[in-house]
Subunit: 403 residues, 2 copies
């Protein structure tokens, strides 16, 4: 089926009809107040809304509150801050999160029941509520405010991550933005992603569609294996586009899923590309696996292996580390059946090392995008995972985060 998904240049969360966003420098990240660190995303009308959250048992106040408020599958706005995770802050932290949503609700004139909150930053510190109270009052909501908001949620990110696509017969739009560059790992990790759409989709369909899209995108990205208490991927659908309600199983439903997948994969790859200290983007494709679960596990284990990542950083064709990683991934593997490629060069065929031009492979591994492919030759399942190299700079960044 042709999916007719078209990328919108410079698109983002305010590309779909009826979404507004804005941000301000509240002084959370720096007292000088010279960095955007607080923002709001809202819809002009009520939305169907669902989210996927961190699997970490330690959950930030924002996550606990959103889980509660999303039980009804409705929302209007989300307020977000960077610079402080408001995690491990106990009851006071929860009161702060609630107050953030109260302030935002008052500002846009809705019940706090429909306002969500997200935070990212250092764990274990209280939110500077005075600055947040003043900040919420300063945010100006604009029809083109998506970029401002995407910038406000950055922490160690070097670039904001935004995308929007138009799809479907009636031209609905899905927009998205994300942050995250460290602590990124399957099952979501210090990652925030907000998705918006003017398509008319109910919460039940949205829940299924988001799960599928997250499984093949954000859950296939790894930077360092750590996960965080704050992660969420939220989608809000306001139905303001022309056209009928989109239902599962329909042609429009298929198109919606394809479009959502593309938006999520685009943002997931942007996160991997912006991994802390990363110089190289790594794409690992595992095919011929006995099951999809095996293919995913194998691809993620390879792209997450510190030894593979360090080898790519040094342009070292140390393919044995790739094989060792797949061997511990839990996926079914038979050594004598494995084919391994770096770029288009075959290094291992049916488990036997092939002679290869070392210089050629070193050259491939010196590109800013490196691709590794494995065929396990055991079945027909396939998966792709994304990550980045491990550099000395990653260590430097993460040894001085709170200091």
């Amino acid at each position: 089926m042709e999916t007719r998904v078209e990328f919108i240049p410079s698109g983002g969360v305010t590309s779909p009809k009826g979404f507004l966003a804005g941000a301000t420098s509240a002084g959370i990240r720096s007292k000088a107040g010279d960095r955007l660190d607080l923002g709001i995303l809202s819809s002009e009308v009520h939305c169907a809304a669902v989210a996927v959250f961190t699997t970490n048992q330690i959950k930030a106040a924002s996550v606990v509150l959103c889980q509660k408020r999303l039980q009804g599958g409705r929302a209007v706005a989300v307020v977000v801050n960077s610079g402080c995770a408001n995690a491990c802050t106990g009851e006071s932290g929860m009161a702060d999160a609630v107050e953030m949503t109260d302030l935002t609700a008052g500002r846009i004139g809705v019940s706090p029941d429909y306002v969500l909150v997200a935070s990212t930053g250092v764990i274990g510190e209280r939110l500077p509520m005075e600055r947040i109270r003043a900040g919420v009052g300063q945010v100006v909501l604009k029809a083109d405010g998506g970029h401002e908001l995407a910038t406000a949620i950055m922490t160690t990110d070097t670039v904001p991550k935004e995308v929007a696509v138009r799809a479907g017969e009636d031209g609905f739009v899905i927009g998205g933005m994300a942050k995250g560059s460290g602590m990124i790992h399957p099952e979501l990790a210090t990652m925030l992603c907000f998705l918006t759409t003017d398509a008319s989709v109910d919460a039940d369909f949205l829940r299924l569609a988001l799960r599928e899209a997250v499984d093949i995108s954000f859950n296939m990205v790894t930077v360092d294996g750590d996960t965080s208490p704050n992660d969420m991927v939220l989608i809000m659908a306001n139905g303001l586009a022309a056209g009928e309600a989109i239902i599962p199983g329909s042609r429009q439903g298929e198109i919606f899923q394809q479009a959502l997948n593309q938006v999520c994969i685009n943002l997931a790859k942007a996160i991997a590309r912006d991994g802390e200290g990363a110089g190289r983007f790594i794409e690992v494709t595992v095919s011929g696996a006995a099951s999809v679960a095996d293919a995913r596990s194998a691809a993620r284990t390879i792209v997450g292996s510190p030894l593979v990542k360090a080898a790519v950083h040094g342009s070292d064709p140390n393919w044995g580390r790739v094989v060792a990683a797949v061997g511990r991934s839990g996926a079914a593997v038979v050594e004598t059946k494995i084919n391994l490629y770096m770029g288009d060069i075959c290094l291992l065929n049916d488990g036997c090392p092939r002679r290869f031009d070392r210089g050629e492979v070193v050259k491939l591994l010196s590109n800013c995008e490196v691709s590794i492919a494995l065929n396990l030759n055991l079945g027909s399942a396939q998966a792709t995972a994304w990550g980045c190299d491990l550099s000395e700079e990653y260590v430097t960044i993460n040894s001085q985060y709170t200091t």
Copy 2:
């Protein structure tokens, strides 16, 4: 029960009665032949012998061969090389491994059925058999050759790792040596460990005792989360000490287990201390866990977290990363019950951040030994794991391994 385990100064695998060892520079690691890289450990009489192997599905020829030969629980000698893992080398690699044991068997005059082999180094390259044939002939077996052998099996290790203890009423001795500093992770990883004892212990008891000792020692060490196709922990008991056969459940059996545990913990800590590029040794103790499995999983996840390791490297008291790591460890945790200590300073009490003197904690984290303790307050199980900080040098070492 008092265990009466006494460390033997400068002890190693040749400390127990009747064990001989030696090594040579065969030219496997460097063609100049200026580094010890091939050695033999043997007993004057047949031994009960058992081993624990890598859980990686990709297994080196040496591992496959040893698994087969140890089915009968007997061995006399093991030949070891560094510089080449002889993994992912197919049938030719297996033939090379068999030939190594044939050569060794011929040299010491026993059946090859009782000779084991271990290899460590680069994956996917064939052993230089001509140099190995010459090398095996050069090895001189000596009653004090343990140190030479411990040096020969080093790869990126900066120091050989050896220990021996005397214990029990009749004064049996357990000796050990190990190598490993990268790819070190629970379930064994690029780690070789050879244990010897003159105690009279049968293979069945030895199997149980080794499993217990490995679970609380080598399986609680992590350097980088990667595992290798080559790992093994081998124990050989020749029964040459005075005294009756030691049986499980007896007082001597208890003492043997305690002594073996101490030998393994000593070597495991030496591996963590020598982690690639490591400047700091980290000990994480988790108490109050609901189960031993939970305690182990929590301790290992914390000590293995790249973000925790990088924070320790930078002496950054970023305790939120410790809590985030325990939250994703799979262990049952209740945020409001966690107590967290760095050294003897309490940073979190019942999940609430405590005011602490930042300078004091930075000072603690600047020591070469850092201890982190967590009480989950959910039960009575406890476990300790060991690791090291993550430094820029780790990345440098591992980005240039084969080049």
